[in-house]
Amino acid sequence: MSDSNLKKIIIEPVTRVEGHGKVSLLLDEKNNIKQARLHIVEFRGFERFIKGRPYWEVPVLVQRLCGICPVSHHLAAAKAMDGIVGVDKLTPTAEKIRRLMHYGQMFQSHVLHFFHLCSPDLLFGFDADPAIRNVIGIAQKYPGLAVQGVMMRKYGQEIIKATAGKKIHGTGAIPGGVNKNLSIAERDVFLKDIEQMLEWAKGALKIAKDYTVENLSLAQEFANFDSNHLCLIREDGAMDLYHGNLRAIDKDGNKIFDQVDYNNYVDYIAEEVKSWSYMKFPFIKSLGHEKGWYRVGPLARVNACDFIDTPLAEEARKEFMAITGGKPNNLSLAYHWTRMIETLHSAEKIQELLNDPDLQGNDLVLKGKRREEAVGLIEAPRGTLFHHYKVNKDDQIEMCNLIVSTTHNNVPMNTAVEKVAQTYLSGKPEITEGLLNHIEVAIRAYDPCLSCATHAMGQMPLVVSLFDHKGNLIDKKVK
């Protein structure tokens, strides 16, 4: 069939996904999916912008990159700058304050995603009326759940504020340590509510688990595809969201590499460029770009770790892994379940840290022998985040390379879109809003952050455009 017999549907931008992305579906004359692609407009100018800036400014400057997960960038950059100032191990107080900040971020980010972005799809159905399939709809039908989501999110945000110093351009993490501890008074505010947070986290986990188990046939049909998985892992194989070495496993759980020092990531990970997307396509070098792509994020982390070092989350992990007989789970919809396992884990970790007197210590910063190059990695809510810098003799940034979580998940998200389009849209005489939402559900499972963080008044709504095979606009829908 020649390309002249194809017509194109574009969904732009994808709602409830950060930043600006669009989906283009190329249909043939029988409405079968010929090609499905997620295009992401990623702003790469930051790596140029930061050149020439003094290294100690970097942990604050990188927060300009994104208004959605500034804490992850703050901490990944701070970890890289620890390397630049020659510090390989922080003081106990510094590391624990940073961990508390990070678990607060993980907790609030996962909660927002589950309660307010995904639960409308799960609780009302993918085809439900968009007028009710949203956070206000949840507030009206499940007010208790919606309030829980708001209060859990607020709890996590307050932890970030207490540890980072402020909500915008937090300064808590600095090269070699932190600039403040947590006072007893601050700690007690969080201790007062932690049991409630744990209870709510358990409740949210049950919703996610029950949904997946009760809808297993849907989950197995919906964007199900094998992949490799990549994440940081602690030396004993435990899940560690703040620090560790790199582990990659294949679809069956076999290790592709393990306990790789992330400072050497360039020996294991490469990035491919494709003409139709601004975003790069990372892959495992030893497998090549065709077979070397991988998933990151909660699903990859739960699949790849040997255990979780908090009791409630570990029990939940075992239940999750039992579904696939201990092998990696490759269902896109299983991201929700694993995200809630991590939410519970984060709450357990927050409780553990709040009861640790090291948080009130005063030994905050270390210095070592200055280096010219360093890498900082962290498990951000959406997946592994790479920050790599070179600093010249005048203390200025000379090179910066960032690989963000959403970039790692580029191929998986494209694969998910293609699978769903083929399963639900091929051959349909009409592309309904509900069908289109299936595409968005697949993308949202990965919780992508496409943000360029400029959000000022006047943003575009969702626009769906239908083009015929000659490129003429024949239909347009605005959400």
Binding site: P13, T15, R16, V17, E18, G19, G45, F46, F49, L61, Q63, R64, L65, G67, I68, P70, Q108, L112, H113, F115, H116, L117, P130, A131, R133, N134, V135, I136, A139, Q140, P143, A146, V147, G149, V150, M151, R153, K154, Q157, K167, I168, H169, C449, S451, C452, A453, T454, H455, A456, M457, G458, Q459, P461, L462, K479
Partner: protein, 155 residues
Amino acid sequence: MTSVGKVLLIGFGNPGRLDDGLGPALAEIFEEKSFPGLTIDSNYQLSVEDAASVAENDIVIFADASINGTEPFSFQKLTPKASLTFSTHSIEPDNVLGLAHELFKTKTQGYILGIRGYDFNEFGQYLSEKAKNNLKDAVIFLEQTLTTNNFKEIN
């Protein structure tokens, strides 16, 4: 406390994206002024948890940069919205207000102060000259509004 009760000012935007920082810049100025009964908050963007803070106040004023609004600024009363417009992890002011009403059963009144900006698409923590002038006018207006408790709309 003002005679209209407790007032919350939330300036939002990304100060690292030039004029997108107009909202936080306004919040910073009012932080220094210490108006009785006025609570100040600022963030990169609004999110669902802001509904809890909004619900604790009688009036909320959202201050944001405006891409193509009235010069030097507009000031409009918000209608709480109970439908989906939040495209992302962030949420629009009328939705925050709607969520506060829906979840916490309050009757908080909301206003949006849209300060016209011009440069958004580069990294940099400074405001354009025209945006700075608009900010000055918006500060004078908001001071008068809070002093006289006359919440007059400007379109």
